[in-house]
Amino acid sequence: MDKPLPNIIYLDNAATSWPKPAGVAQAVADFINYLGANPGRSGHRLSTAAAELVYDTRSLLAEMFGAEDPLRVVFCKNVTEALNTVLRGLLRPGDHVVTGSLEHNSVMRPLRALERQGVELTAVPASPAGLFRPSDFERALRPNTRLIVLNHASNVVGTLAPVREVGQIAREHGVWLAVDAAQTAGVYPIHMPADNIDILCFTGHKGLLGPQGTGGFILGERVPDDAIEPLTRGGTGSRSEEEHQPDFLPDRFESGTLNAAGIAGLKAGLEFLRREGIAKVRAHEVALTRRLLDGLRAIAGVQIYGTRDPAYQVAVVSFNIAGMYPSEAALALDEEFGIMCRVGLHCAPAAHRTIGTFPQGTIRFSPGYFNTPAEIDQALEAVEALARRAHTPTYQVVNRERSVYDDRENR
């Protein structure tokens, strides 16, 4: 694929995937230029064509994740809104919810707010490498446990959670399992019935290769249509004579005009993935992750977090360079080497506490399907150069003086 900006190595796919397949931008433009109507509001042919496009996108998502009915696919603006809808719409004071210690703030912040309202919360700890024991989830269950909500793969260390095993435990105890698939949808195989997932929350702009502003959740067969209270209420294009929100899917959760242009782009992303196949995407990302991990291991002064084994993780790698702040490394990587990455806490303080990198955080490289082995090698050369720099006496002196100055500033 041609890249419009030369000398850029994009390793921030865990934040949003880039570049997108060629058809994605075209699909968004085509929708705005030629289709453009409001899906599901009017009966004219442009409106029904827009509604068909939205339906076909649901259908592709249902197929990808093993869901039977495309109408149980609900669109939101992103996975955060999906998780908020599920958590705030399902949990009531007196309910107990179980989660893991590698959650993103898209789960932790709504849960902490619910805790203040009387929802009981247990966070099952992961090992410092980022792995869970499924039996710990069983031990955490209480008679009033309503839900287990689990990050499928950590956005900090990439480690995969034992979703299928935890889902089996949930099933045996009559509890639902909601999965945050922000880092896995599109890059790792997910089959809701086989993986015992009752609610799958996804975002459209990462592994699914669509535009930002798309995402949603899928309700499995065990979750009744009316189990979750909607976050918003309003016009749905259905039951207009009624001033009460419809209780059927997807209208119950989709008030107001959808991001149909974004959904058109998401459809193109999904079609690209269907042509390529998730297995091929996964194999490419495993190869890149292995190359990255092997290369980082060989650099003196680099500490890698997580399992360091691509079989147990997605293409998200966190590390630190001894003697250099992550923020400083990020600036040098961008300005001097053209490498785009993300450093700091990645909106996941709980995960950084688990792996022992709170509050300074880590440098995170997250390759994607469009990265090449040559780009990984270039990135490794850059890290090596920075590790050498951090090791020089001059750098260490300058750095120490600055940190003293920073401390004074903070007082």
Binding site: P39, G40, R41, S42, G43, H44, S47, T48, A51, E52, V54, Y55, R58, S59, P70, L71, T236, G237, S238, R239, S240, E241, P246, F248, L249, P250, D251
Partner: protein, 74 residues
């Protein structure tokens, strides 16, 4: 004699699209139209078909387990 039509009514527009996809795949002539005022005040769409096909339409929808709210002759 003018053509006789019927319509299938749905709770949700997206369900109507699902039905349209299934019926077209079965080779039936159908078209999404606004719900006629005499049937409902709803602003949504319904699926128009040739009334002569009405038993086949019902059969296909049941086979595909597409829930619908009703079938009316126009």
């Amino acid at each position: 004699m003018s053509t006789q039509y019927g319509v299938v009514l749905f709770d949700s527009t997206q369900r109507a699209i699902q039905a349209e996809r299934a019926l077209k795949a079965a080779g039936l002539l159908v078209k999404l139209i606004p719900v006629p005022r005499q049937i409902s005040s709803d602003c949504g769409v319904c699926l128009r078909f040739l009334w002569q096909d009405h038993s086949r339409v019902e059969e296909v929808l049941r086979d595909h387990r597409v829930a619908f709210a009703g079938i009316r002759q126009l």
